[in-house]
Symmetry: C2
Amino acid sequence: VVLGMIGLGAKSGYEIKQMVQISIRFFWTISQAQIYPSLRRLEGAGLLASHADPRNKRRPRTFTLTPAGSEALRTWLIRDQPMPFELRDIAMVKLFFADGIDPAHAHSLLAAVRHRSHAQVAALQAIAPTADELAAQTGKDHPQLTLQMGIAYHQAMIHLCDAFEHSHGGTAKGKPTKAHNPPPTV
Amino acid sequence: VVLGMIGLGAKSGYEIKQMVQISIRFFWTISQAQIYPSLRRLEGAGLLASHADPRNKRRPRTFTLTPAGSEALRTWLIRDQPMPFELRDIAMVKLFFADGIDPAHAHSLLAAVRHRSHAQVAALQAIAPTADELAAQTGKDHPQLTLQMGIAYHQAMIHLCDAFEHSHGGTAKGKPTKAHNPPPTV
DNA sequence: TTGCCCATGTAACCAGTTACATGATTCA
DNA sequence: TGAATCATGTAACTGGTTACATGGGCAA
């Protein structure tokens, strides 16, 4: 990820963090505390070159890919390696066990899940213009693809929440509707 | 998860592991090495009671929920807590950066992702009968819901892979088609 | 001159994993 | 009697996090 983001134009650790935040955070996160040690390791391995601004020491060191770094990134990308799919979602765990609680609470759990997916869709759609712009200007359209995958996932979740609710008596009259609920924590 | 699985009828650590494997492993995993210490901790906290078979020491100790354990599970399920969505998917990371590699390799990466989702859908559909049976016999249908969510996710991935490929020249003739590729590692 | 954002760095911790070790039971 | 499966247990590691610390530049 670090090499990839520098390949896409990130120059400092700080910018890497930001780019992750507005691009791949839906399916990959990286904490700031990992980035700086990684940069040093990659530089030590000859995959990155840093150019410190001599006028001051604290301003962002700018990193660029060395030829070896470009090559390492490329070979990693094309490598046919196992790609395990790892999802950890407490919401789904709770939903799975939700037959053990009363229908009212199960209903608001479902509402919380739906609400969360709504929020995720909104957050992802907010960065869509950036991806579209990138595609229009440079032809790089894979970021659009991964973004759409994120959106599609949460739209599917919302759809299934709705379908499940309808199959359970439609307007649950014994229950406060979601509109009156305090917004569930996400 | 441990309390929940025992609530659903798992009696031993071994059975918990198995139940996770055939139910929630799509969105939550738990390694065997965690389970036994957890069981002891939960028993120490008075949430579980164990009944060792006196005739031999190695046979599965059977655990049951104490009233306090039932209550703890229930309050956890209805608790309005943050439910962060955590996905880590190397495949999506590679796809995101795939504009940096040549179209042929990008294409086979896409094929690998599609193939993986196909496999996931198949694996999930294989356990659908179990969930259906549970719903028919006991009325517990939330496991069906979470299962469908897993399936829907991967179907959406497959759909987007196809759409993306079509938008990129349809039958990529410069490329071996997926049918001729060795099955990509997953 | 205060406060906020940019930017880097690190110590301490921790959840969870891999790998290994062991023993009982069942079945061919 | 040997292999496979059921079943439990633990040591060692590790990838990653939180929290804290620092310091420069800029704008009100």
